[in-house]
């Protein structure tokens, strides 16, 4: 693992695909799709190499890269202050997120076979989105993080607005504006920190903000720290999404093409959780502790609100969208508990929900492709026409509602374990959400697969060969995490230790 620029190559490898695509003629559909798919492979291979090397005991520090990039002002007077480096690095948590991103990108590229028009533009944007997502997790300083964060915004806007369903442009605009506001707030936080401390490096910031005698360019009061953390919560709350800031996300889930929703629900939403854990807890541990109760309350609200609304939806995509909101509540619950079990549960939930949501949306894409509807009332009896799809759909739902042996169970269990230790009453209220989850998911899935068929499913083919790949991979990973959680927990050990040290737990 002594490769120089290993991480840069990993993050920017999809650009190669963009380059190749730009020379291909527009009309070569299958060629474009193949190139688009192949371009996601290098990142996948490299991230898996990094993962297995790390499991084998190699240190992630040797992957760090640092090149000086921008120097504001006169360096002879300011020294290292106000300089921004191009620096990439990994810890256990970000490594897992990178692997998740790379896996889901490859699978989403397979799901993109269902895209009907302008494949060239689609795959170029798709690969650009992948660069942004990989970069977000590898960035070692806040400004670089923000740049990659914004890079995900633009391709997603176009991917939703051009390749989505009927109300795609509205969905694209509401995505843009909500996320634009979120990143605007994030930018304020980043710039205040940068202007006050003269550095944007995350580790340096953690050190500067938590030392008793910090070397700052200008003072940061305790109130300001609190204000910054709340701003951070809003910024990532839009992304996650947290309860009153969620409406855009439902629209995106319903209107965007399924392959993009796989990435959106699987990775993009998780950037919110990643940011809260890495920056919220890392840079403002003391303030985070005083907000923990509110986070837990918000988490329970999210969980219940999402679950109740999912219960009354008639469109399966809407059910899944609200289910995502509900499941993100569990992340917040874990973070609010602020003990080891809780935080670990939150991170597990991030990964687990990423896989489950990707699986369910892939399956939605599969049957939408064949029956042109995702409305539960117009479906029913799908198990007759597509028994295998229906079976996997049920498996996905089981994972989502937290059946033991699957990844959803582990994460929910740990998050609630954490919360019961700290706030038992709130946790008890929260468990209603878990029951609700079972109710709405079974209602929706059974409504689709069993019962009286509203139409004739003769002539409808079940899963095709290439469609087995994403389904099997995702189900495999979900079960793997469910039965052998240390694939996740072991790489996380050191990250968790650092976090617990910061919050003094």
């Amino acid at each position: 693992m002594n490769l120089a620029y290993f991480l840069s190559i990993l993050v920017f490898s999809p650009l190669l695909g963009i380059l190749v695509l730009s020379f291909l003629p527009k009309t070569q559909e299958s060629l474009i799709k193949t190139v688009g798919f192949l371009a996601t492979i290098p990142a996948l291979v490299l991230s898996l190499i990094a993962y297995f090397q790390y499991r084998a005991g190699a240190s992630l520090d040797q992957l760090n890269e640092k090149v000086s990039w921008i120097q504001f002002g006169d360096s002879s007077q300011l020294g290292n202050l106000f300089s921004i480096d191009y620096e990439l690095g990994l810890d256990g948590f970000s490594l897992i997120m990178i692997v998740l991103t790379a896996v889901l990108s490859t699978l989403a590229a397979i799901a993109s076979i269902h895209i009907k028009k302008e494949w060239k533009g689609y795959f170029m944007l798709f690969l650009l989105l992948e660069v942004g997502m990989l970069g977000v997790f590898a960035a070692e300083n806040l400004i670089l993080f923000f740049i990659f964060f914004e890079i995900t915004l633009i391709p997603t806007f176009f991917l939703i607005g051009k390749w989505g369903y009927f109300e795609k442009e509205n969905a694209a605009y509401s995505f843009l504006i909500y996320n634009g506001l979120g990143s605007a707030v994030l930018l304020i936080v980043i710039m205040v920190l940068f202007a006050r401390t003269g550095t944007a490096n995350i580790d340096a910031l953690m050190a500067a903000m938590n030392s008793d005698n910090p070397q700052l360019v200008a003072p940061i009061s305790e109130n300001m720290k609190m204000g910054l953390l709340i701003a951070l919560l809003i910024a990532f709350g839009v992304k996650l999404p947290i309860f009153p800031l969620h409406s855009w996300m439902v629209r995106v889930h319903v209107q965007a093409p399924p392959s993009i929703v796989m990435l959106h629900a699987g990775v993009l939403l998780k950037i919110g959780a990643f940011g809260l854990i890495r920056f919220g807890m890392g840079i403002f541990p003391e303030q985070f502790q005083s907000l923990a109760v509110w986070l837990a309350v918000l988490g329970v609200v999210n969980l219940l609100y999402g679950a109740f609304l999912a219960f009354v939806q008639t469109d399966f995509k809407m059910v899944l969208a609200y289910s995502s909101i509900s499941h993100m509540g569990i992340v917040l619950i874990g973070l609010g508990a602020l003990n080891e079990a809780g935080i670990q549960g939150a991170i597990f939930q991030v990964v687990s929900h990423g896989l489950i949501a990707a699986l369910l949306f892939f399956l939605v894409g599969v049957f939408y492709e064949r029956v042109q509807t995702s409305n539960i009332q117009n479906l029913g009896g799908l198990a007759k026409g597509m028994p295998i799809t229906a079976g996997f759909l049920l498996a996905g739902a089981m994972a989502s509602l937290g059946l033991p042996g699957m990844s959803g169970f582990v994460s929910e269990f740990m998050a609630f374990l954490g919360l019961f230790k700290e706030m038992p009453i709130l946790a008890a209220v929260g468990t209603i959400g878990i029951i609700m989850t079972a109710v709405y998911l079974l209602r929706a899935v059974l409504g689709i697969t069993y019962g009286k068929a509203h139409r004739d499913f003769a002539g409808i083919t079940d899963l095709k060969k290439f469609e087995y790949v994403p389904v099997l991979v995702l189900v495999g990973l979900i079960v793997l995490i469910g039965v052998y959680p240390s694939v996740l927990s072991e790489p996380l050990t050191s990250t968790l230790e650092t976090i617990m040290l910061g919050i003094g737990g």
């Binding site: 533009g121 914004e150 605007a184 304020i188 940068f194």
Partner: protein, 504 residues
């Protein structure tokens, strides 16, 4: 002044100005003696070559130490050099756009004037950036303004163009009168028009009463000059003038003329008011006490520009409001008065130059055929001319401040400058970020047209060479300074030494 002193001056430092003046004069003569039927395009190319020559001579002067001639009325300091660089590059690109400008009607007879008036206006702007005296500043300002008035009305048979020129002249004269009135107060107080002597007088002679007179002068000068910036409260002219003027002129007004506006405002504010005591106990200079007023103007300008832009359907009006908004961002730089002020202003104006001129080159090309300037003209551009659409997308993203483009680094710089002082300008930064998000609506509106809407006209688009060059240079610079901004920052640090000689 006798001949000997006159000859002893180092005239070499005025070389760029002389070249522009010479070329402009030569062009008038060429125009006079050329047969009526011959195309005047060649004049444009000669003018372009002239600007390049001036650029080369300016680059030759970059290592030159600070120097002033003609009794301190003309100074060549880092500030002058750095901003003249922007003016010359901007004008060169504008001229390329102008060469490719072929409107359906209204410009045949005055083609020649069209080119050398740009040079005259540029000369005015250059004089301003090197001025050490209120008189020369004002002469430069008027030279720029009057040339621009004529340029705006160049399409004599076109109603909108005439309306544009008329509005521009009337508003411009009022603004100039207000500026001049403000200047007269400072002159009355100090008894001199020389900026350096004024500064010396204000530092040494302190009188309670001066504060009020100076305050009045400050308001008048700033209000009057906001006209050139197209900033509140004198922004109302911009939409009508931008819409009616020929597109190259609009491009000139939005970039070169605006840069010149910032040059004069910096020259005056930071020469005069930075040296006047504010009269409070700590002995802070007056300019710091006036910070809030500039901040107010900046905030108002950003809000007005970005909000009203939302409702525009005409692409040139849209860009008029966009340029008002951009002026607001630039005023934030002046309002925050951090140690990065000159760097930030220079970088953002440079980034703005490329992204805006690139966009105008495309606007001119897309709108000229059909004659309509509605944004629906951009519909389906991606199908007809993918590279044009992608280029436009890059310029729009840069104007919106999305990472990967020069506009983002510029904005980052502005935020940093505004937050570094211990009394950070949080409100101003919040307004700027919020209005930036608002601006996504209209910038992305154009992109929605280009990428999502079907094309009304499916014909292939052929781009003239000069426009291709403008678009190519602009897109290269926008991305280069977005990805590797240190090229520009190193150049600044290496050659202009923090602009310290501005205050000497």
């Amino acid at each position: 002044m006798d001949l000997e002193t006159l000859l002893s001056y180092e005239w070499g430092i005025m070389a760029p100005e002389f070249i522009i003046l010479g070329v402009a004069t030569a062009l008038t003569l060429m125009d006079l003696f050329m047969p009526k039927t011959q195309s005047r395009k060649i004049l444009g190319w000669v003018g372009f070559a002239g600007i390049l020559a001036a650029l080369v001579s300016l680059l030759g002067l970059i290592g030159h130490g600070p120097e002033s001639i003609l009794l301190d009325t003309f100074r060549l300091d880092s500030f002058a050099k750095a901003f003249k660089l922007l003016l010359l590059i901007g004008s060169a690109l504008v001229l390329l756009i102008a060469i490719s400008y072929e409107p359906n009607e209204g410009l045949e007879e005055f083609r020649g004037e069209f080119f050398y008036l740009f040079l005259a206006a540029l000369l005015g702007a250059m004089i301003m950036s090197s001025s050490g005296d209120l008189i020369t500043l004002f002469v430069g300002l008027e030279l720029l303004s009057i040339s621009s008035y004529i340029l705006a009305g160049m399409r004599k048979r076109n109603q909108l163009s005439n309306e544009s020129a008329m509005k521009y002249v009337i508003n411009g004269s009022i603004a100039t009168a207000i500026t001049l009135f403000g200047m007269s107060y400072v002159y009355g107080l100090t008894g001199t028009t020389n900026l350096k002597e004024m500064a010396g007088f204000l530092t040494s002679v302190y009188n309670e009463q001066h504060i009020y007179l100076l305050g009045l002068a400050f308001f008048m000068i700033v209000v009057g000059l906001s006209f050139k910036l197209a900033a509140a409260p004198f922004h109302m002219w911009a939409p009508d003038v931008y819409q009616g003027a020929p597109t190259p002129v609009t491009a000139f007004l939005s970039v070169v003329s605006k840069t010149a506006g910032f040059i004069i405002i910096i020259r005056i504010l930071f020469s005069i008011f930075a040296n006047a005591p504010s009269g409070d106990v700590q002995g802070l200079p007056m300019i710091l006490a006036l910070q809030d007023y500039i901040a107010f103007l900046a905030g108002a300008t950003m809000i007005i520009g970005n909000v009203i832009a939302l409702r525009q359907r005409n692409i040139k009006r849209l860009f008029a409001y966009s340029s008002i908004a951009q002026a607001g961002y630039l005023l934030v730089v002046i309002a925050s008065m951090s140690l990065f002020m000159f760097d930030t202003l220079w970088f953002y104006l440079g980034a703005y130059l490329f992204m805006n001129l690139g966009a105008f080159a495309i606007i001119q090309h897309v709108t000229h055929k059909s004659g309509s300037e509605d944004i629906s003209q951009f519909a389906g551009l991606y199908r007809r001319a993918p590279f044009l659409a992608i280029a436009m997308a890059v310029f729009l993203l840069s104007l919106a401040g999305i990472p990967g483009t020069a506009g983002f680094i510029g904005k980052l710089n502005i935020f940093m400058g505004a937050l570094v002082p211990s009394e950070g300008h949080y409100v101003l930064v919040s307004i700027m970020i919020a209005t930036t998000v608002i601006s996504y609506f209209y910038y992305f509106g154009v992109m929605v047209q280009m990428f999502f809407r079907p094309a009304a006209d499916t014909g292939k688009v052929k781009i003239p060479v000069a426009l291709t060059a403008v678009i190519g240079i602009s897109i290269a610079a926008t991305i280069l300074f977005g990805v590797a901004p240190n090229i520009a920052f190193d150049f600044l640090q290496g050659n202009f030494n923090q602009f310290t000689d501005f205050f000497q």
